[in-house]
């Protein structure tokens, strides 16, 4: 009989926090600077430099801990993790091993097989490493410390997941919570959210855990799913062949669809953690905790319920809009400016989603402001522009966040509904399309649609189609 195996998965998720400055110094965390232009003695490990903790980092970490039902550690410390690598300027990383800021949390995920709690072992604060650039031709690498010291939290789950589907549901759940908190934009591709996956397999029904491996370099949901599949198969094959799984870190190569060991004889994997004597303990008091609790946003579930109560929009729309904190904020702020909820929702659901998809963007990347969307809706409500023009204006707004009123005015896009101005155009259309005119007169009602279209074309879309229709009927 063929043995049945179960895959046991735990995740270590690194999230880059959205603070303006690094975790231990006043350097900017902004992307895109020239190499080493966002550095100082502290984040380049200069002799004599000392770290001082960024308050915002602590607040974000505690906020994420609260959102994931963690116990907040009242007496927390930083430890040094010692290992040599050039992207790590001190050759130790400041992290938290012994007393992490959050522990014992959980989040609920929902997959096709139902709801499930995923335990969170701990969340700790730490610093990111610099970036290595490998010269293709030469025998050297280059180090840029702009990212060195960017704040991270590492969310360590319990080994509670059993499939790629659960892993992805868990990651999406975390991403949603953290985005709602504004603590990070959580982009896998850009590395602001990174998942290392611990995988082991065991025979179905077995109580004890098998030996696990840690998979790194997973920068898309697809890569994660493929890596889990690949590693499960690799481990089962080893076990079936009577060999042992070695506890190690492996690098997933998504192009090759294979993982490779990262071990080297120069790595002892003995990090000699000890409390960092340059940093003092972090004490979390009730008052601080209460302030952070007060600032916690309305999370998605609560928002969905409220939308159902307050706005007359379909459940499907609510699901999509609240799926992104940014989109939900945009929706609410536009409605607050007086736009009808259903109309705001329509713009988001149809045109916005279409343009996001066409441009390969996330809802977080939407740039237009609630003020401008409300103005556009007002222009259509008052029939100042028709729907064709509105779509054109919207595209412009989506790309550049232009002011629709000003744009319509400047480009002369206002609808012409004045009969006098339209009459001559309609007369011309009738004169130029005798066949359609005859068809209409012979009882082909549909022919009028063609004539309306021709008129709109002649008017470059700026006419009110209803007025055109009426005029045509009158003149025919």
């Amino acid at each position: 009989m063929v043995k049945q195996y179960e895959t046991v998965i735990g995740l270590e998720v690194h999230v880059e926090l959205a603070s303006k400055t690094k975790i231990f110094c006043g350097c900017s965390t902004a992307f895109g600077g020239a190499p080493n232009t966002h550095t100082c003695p502290v984040c380049t490990g200069m002799p004599g430099s000392l770290p001082v903790l960024n308050k915002q980092v602590l607040e974000y970490a505690v906020a994420v801990g609260l959102a994931t039902n963690c116990e907040i550690t009242r007496f927390s410390k930083f430890d040094r993790k010692n290992y040599f690598y050039p992207d790590n300027p001190q050759n130790y990383q400041i992290s938290q091993l012994y007393l992490p800021i959050c522990r014992n949390g959980s989040v609920e995920i929902e997959t096709e097989s139902g709801k499930k709690q995923i335990g969170i072992h701990e969340i700790h604060m730490e610093e990111d490493a610099g970036k290595m650039i490998h010269d293709e031709s030469g025998n050297f690498s280059l180090v840029d410390y702009n990212r060195s010291g960017v704040p991270l939290i590492e969310i360590v789950s319990e080994p509670d997941m059993r499939s790629a589907e659960e892993v992805i549901a868990y990651l999406e759940r975390l991403r949603m919570l953290i985005q709602y908190l504004g603590a990070s934009d959580c982009k896998l591709q850009e590395g602001s959210m990174r998942a290392d996956v611990n995988i082991s397999v065991r025979e179905a029904g077995c109580e004890t855990l098998g030996t696990r491996t840690e998979m790194k370099n997973l920068n898309s949901f697809r890569a994660i799913a493929r890596a889990i599949e690949g590693e499960t198969a690799r481990q089962i094959a080893l076990i079936e062949a009577g060999e042992k799984v070695i506890q190690e870190t492996r690098r997933w190569d998504d192009g090759k669809g294979e993982s490779f060991t990262m071990r080297s004889k120069e790595d002892a994997q003995d990090y000699r953690y000890f409390p960092d004597p340059d940093l003092v303990p972090v004490l979390v008091f009730e008052k601080f905790l209460a302030e952070i609790k007060d600032r916690q946003p309305e999370f998605r579930e609560a928002k969905m319920e409220r939308y159902q109560r307050e706005f007359d929009i379909p459940a499907y729309d609510i699901d999509i809009i609240t799926g992104s904190k940014h989109m939900a904020d945009l929706f609410e702020e536009t409605v607050a400016l007086g736009a009808q909820p259903k109309k705001v929702s329509n713009w988001l659901m149809v045109e916005t989603l279409r343009l996001l998809k066409e441009n390969g963007m996330d809802p977080e990347d939407i740039r237009f402001s609630p003020k401008h969307l409300a103005a556009l809706i007002k222009l259509t409500d008052s029939k100042a522009i028709n729907s064709t023009v509105a779509k054109e204006v919207f595209e412009k707004m989506f790309a550049e966040d232009i002011d629709p009123e000003k744009y319509v005015e400047d480009a002369g896009l206002k609808t012409v509904s004045d009969e006098g101005a339209l009459r001559s155009v309609v007369e011309e259309v009738i004169a130029n399309n005798p066949q359609s005119v005859e068809d209409y007169r012979n009882g082909k009602e549909k022919a009028i649609g063609f004539l309306v279209g021709q008129t709109m074309k002649a008017m470059k879309g700026k006419a009110d189609p209803a007025v055109v229709n009426q005029l045509l009927k009158e003149l025919l």
Binding site: G26, P86, Y145
Partner: protein, 97 residues
Amino acid sequence: MANIISDETMEYVGILAKLELSDEEKKAAAADMGKMLDYFDKMSELDTTGVEPMSHVFPIHNVLREDVVTNGDDRDAILQNAPAQKEGMFVVPKTVG
């Protein structure tokens, strides 16, 4: 209790500390280390049951910075002591195969 530091231990500590000693140095260092550890073992005479390890002498806590950018571009100063640099970056031996 005498601590004998094996060649393997010296090798291992060498990997951790990124130090490569000559055989002669290694021998001397192993002897010194054994002697020091014997001496360190004196601490085990003391009963420290229930004593919290003390990292900091003073009860200072929550020394926090506001999240405000205070550093500008100081790249030239950061790179001025680099043994090797190229295109505004530190040069190291190639780290991937």
